[in-house]
């Protein structure tokens, strides 16, 4: 990485507006400023990025437990009532022979939320430790997280559609369970956590180190 030859915007006194991505030159005077183009308040990095990100992530981890333990769907049929959690729904799909579908649901509702929580934990911890390890890969991980996030909503939509469609009085009825609310909360909270995280913090650790090196050689 040719870090010595490159310069970040922040070091040049330039901040990127979080409302419209305009590069703004900050005046010498102290104080808070607004973007000349869109009027959003200017910050060097997203304000309180780590605090918000941690708060949403911890809330997501807490909601993750009921989301997986409580049933998300209750099927009432002539043969009896069946309660399904997320995992048992996947197992049911697998056993009934539609394994491609089971795989899709498994990835969207089990793997993605779990990996998202773990990745956010990893990103937040490495930023806290000011790690200089693999910044490009970590930035890429963050980019993937942002893209993948909404796909966990899949199960919520499926439950919603089944509830709305299967209202066959005595024959079959499907109701949503409390797990669905917890699962919805996990999806929204992990998305908020990723949104509040500022990936530039990953690269800031490298910057400070360079400054330290140039000071040391002087």
């Amino acid at each position: 990485m040719p870090n010595g030859l490159l310069s970040t915007a922040a070091r040049q006194g330039l901040w990127l507006c979080h409302g419209c991505s305009l590069l703004c030159r900050l005046p010498q005077a102290e104080g808070q400023w607004r973007c000349p183009r869109c009027g959003a308040p200017l910050h060097r990095r997203k304000p309180h990025s780590l605090q918000f990100s941690w708060a949403f992530l911890l809330a997501a981890i807490i909601s993750y437990i009921p989301a997986n333990l409580l049933p998300i769907m209750r099927t009432e049929m002539l043969s009896g009532t069946q309660q399904d959690t997320i995992l048992s729904g996947v197992v049911y799909l697998w056993k009934s022979g539609s394994w491609p579908l089971a795989l899709v649901v498994f990835i969207a509702s089990v793997l993605v939320p779990l990996l998202k929580i773990l990745s956010m934990l990893f990103l937040l911890l490495t930023v806290h430790l000011r790690s200089r390890w693999a910044p490009w890969q970590r930035t890429r991980l963050y980019r993937v997280l942002e893209v993948v996030g909404p796909w966990s909503m899949l199960d919520i939509y499926v439950v919603g559609l089944l509830v709305a469609l299967v209202r066959l009085q005595s024959l079959a009825n499907i109701k949503a369970g409390p797990g669905a609310i917890a699962f919805g909360a996990v999806v929204v909270l992990t998305m908020l956590s990723a949104m509040k995280f500022d990936p530039r913090l990953i690269w800031d650790a490298l910057e400070d180190d360079n400054e330290y090196k140039t000071h040391a050689t002087k």
Partner: protein
């Protein structure tokens, strides 16, 4: 809090850098094709000539298809002489009737309302800009668009419909409705627009419109 004066160098074409690693880089003079960050390799720009009119056409088409997608049922179910059909908003309404208001709200917002508002505000910006004037409240609508964008989940809803179709197939006779095909078309149209569109395009047109008057 005071607004910064608009400095001339805020709009220099070379002064482009990115959200993700804050590296300052010169934008090439001729930027017809892809431009990537040299440090973290994320895409800085990719644009076609005449992009504004392309986007306008795609957004108008998207809005029409969006209306179809929400008016016509996405799935129809027939079992034992009972005929049931549902739309996206119908799904949300049914859930709210059964005491699942948070989930109903989540589905209605992410699948229908927020994408709808996004489409309308995009048209509100694109139509006047392509005619050469700036609509009132332009900066505020731009910020609204940016805030809304991550919460539109139409493509996830579409996958959800497909999964439910397969799940229900063993229980009853199910048919894909006009709504489902409209959702398919909507996603293609939106992807076609997103491929070459970035919000800087709108800001640049706004600047040229303002300096023209």
């Amino acid at each position: 809090m005071s607004t910064l004066p608009a400095l001339p160098d805020s709009h220099l074409p070379w002064a482009s850098h990115m959200q993700e690693c804050d590296l300052l880089q010169a934008m090439p003079e001729q930027h017809a094709t892809h431009v990537f960050c040299c440090r973290c390799r994320s895409r800085l720009r990719h644009r076609r000539p005449d992009q504004l009119h392309r986007s306008l056409a795609l957004q108008v088409a998207s809005l029409l298809v969006f209306v179809l997608a929400n008016v016509f049922p996405v799935v129809q179910l027939q079992a034992g002489g009972v005929y049931l059909a549902t739309t996206l908003l119908g799904t949300a309404w049914q859930l709210s009737q059964e005491g699942m208001a948070p989930i109903a709200l989540l589905i209605a917002l992410t699948g229908g309302l927020l994408p709808g508002v996004e489409l309308l505000s995009m048209l509100y910006l694109l139509l006047p800009l392509s005619l050469g004037w700036v609509p009132p409240g332009f900066p505020r609508v731009m910020r609204l668009l940016r805030a809304l964008h991550p919460w539109g989940m139409i493509e996830v809803f579409l996958l959800g419909v497909l999964v439910s179709l397969v799940k229900l197939a063993h229980l009853a006779e199910v048919h894909a409705g006009i709504g489902l095909w409209s959702f398919f078309a909507l996603i293609l149209l939106l992807a076609g627009n997103a491929y070459c569109f970035d919000t800087d395009l709108l800001w640049e047109h706004q600047q040229t419109c303002q300096t023209a008057y």
